[in-house]
Every structure is written in C-alpha cells, then in structure tokens.
Subunit: 148 residues, 2 copies
C-alpha cells in the first residue's frame, strides 16, 4: 500500500513537472517565433523587447562576445528595415527548463533573395521580477562554415 502510494505520488509529481515543462517550452518557442517573424521583416524591436539588460551575445560577424542591451540595440540598428527574409524554417526547437531559466536550441534555414543561410542557435531565457521570460544569452553561428 505504501509502495503504491509512493509510486502514485512520484507519478503525479512527474506528470506535474512534465506538464509545467511543456507549458514553459510552448511559451518560449512562441516568444522566439514571434520575435523572429518580426526580425525577418526588418523589425528589430521584436527581439530587443525581450532582451534582458544583462544580455550577452555572439554571432559570426563580431570579434568578441557583446555584453549588454545598450550595445546590442546600437549594433542592431544597421538591420532596421533592411531584412527581407522570404522563407524561414525553425528546425526541431528544443527547450530544457527549470522554474526560472530555460535554454532553447534549434537549427534555422532562412532564405533572402538568392541566399540560403543555415544557422545554429542557442537562446537562454530567464524569468524577470515581473514573471516575464527575457533572453539573457544569444548565440548564432553558421552551420559548417567553409573556412578560406
């Protein structure tokens, strides 16, 4: 009887945990897709609005990790209104979460004019004081870049 009770509690806890994680996963993927859709039309504010003040950032165009929302907002201005992605596929997004932090990883295939880009992406989200998920770390890199 005790064993049964224990198993039931474990199962309920596990189900609650999985349920909570599924909800976090859905919420984070929706946030990312929404920001990405805006980015693909040249609207940089979709991402900037969900970046935390202490965000750290990597992409293949910069020399070193970029730290802080101020610098990143300044850096993003060059793309404002200048992106026209015609096709975009987020491949196999996966979220690994605890209560107040979560990591989203995916591959991305995007097409702009004649160019096809294949990306690796890691986003780390953290819950802020107002209970909203904000990105604290972004890492974009090319899939198998051919070095000169």
């Amino acid at each position: 009887m005790k064993t049964l009770l224990f198993i039931s509690i474990v199962m309920i806890t596990h189900t609650a945990y999985s349920q909570e994680n599924m909800e976090i996963s859905k919420e984070i993927i929706t946030l990312e897709k929404t920001a990405l859709e805006r980015w693909n039309r040249g609207d940089i504010m979709g991402y900037i609005n969900i970046y935390a003040e202490d965000i750290v950032y990597f992409d293949p165009m910069i020399d070193k990790r970029m730290d802080g929302l101020n610098k990143l907002s300044e850096y993003y201005k060059q793309w404002e209104g200048k992106i026209h992605i015609t096709e975009c596929e987020m491949i196999d997004p996966k979220v690994q979460a605890v209560d107040n932090m979560a990591v989203l990883t995916f591959n991305l295939r995007s097409v702009e004019g004649m160019h096809v880009y294949n990306w690796n992406c890691t986003e780390v989200y953290r819950k802020d004081e107002g209970n909203s998920w904000k990105i604290i770390q972004t890492h974009w890199s090319y899939v198998k870049p051919s070095l000169k």
Copy 2:
C-alpha cells in the same frame, strides 16, 4: 526607522544573492577550465564526465544539433589522444545564474602547432539530483569565419 530597516534587509539580501552568485560563478568556471585542460591534452573524459544525459550540442563541423550523451560520446572518440594544444586562453568568462541553472560564456584562443583558433563558446549548466553541476548545452563556433 522602517525605511532604514527595509534598506538593511534589501542590502543583506542583495549581498547574500551576490555572494551566492559569485560562488556559483567560481565553481562553474573551475569545472570548465578543468575539463578544457584535459581536452587540450586529448583526454575527452573531462567533458564527458560533466555532460548530462540530455545534453544538446553544436560545433562548426556538424550538420545539425546533436542530441544526447550517447551520440556525443561516440562523436568525441575521434579526438581521443589526438589533441595537442600548446597555448590556451579563456577570455572574459561570464556566468549568469539562478539557483539550479547557469550559463557560462567566453571567447577562447587556442594554438595547436601552427594553427590559431578563435572560438565563441556557450555552456549551460544545470544542477542534477545529486547537487552536481552538469552541462546540458554546449555551443562552440568560430569567431568571424571567412566564408568561401
């Protein structure tokens, strides 16, 4: 008086929080440096021992995100005993943490023979049931790769 008490409580809480974060930061950077030093001598087990079962992984040599410790251990075998890094500098490591999850980011300059490699790196650590930090996400990418 009430205001003073409030300020004191806030300051104590903040100090305790900073203290805890500093300790997490030190612990995580030490873990990473130890694994990296073993890697630089061709010992792949330093990293494998601190990877979680559900690790997800990106580097510039693979087509798509790699999922799970089994696949990653298999992939790493090709480097066992074959790495001889002579110089290695972890540049500006930074840890952003909550109680049971933390993200470590840094740039890395490493030298092997005549080759100099410049890397971006993101590691996400999560506390496991035994209270040990394990890596659940690794993302290595080249700094400014020159595309063919």
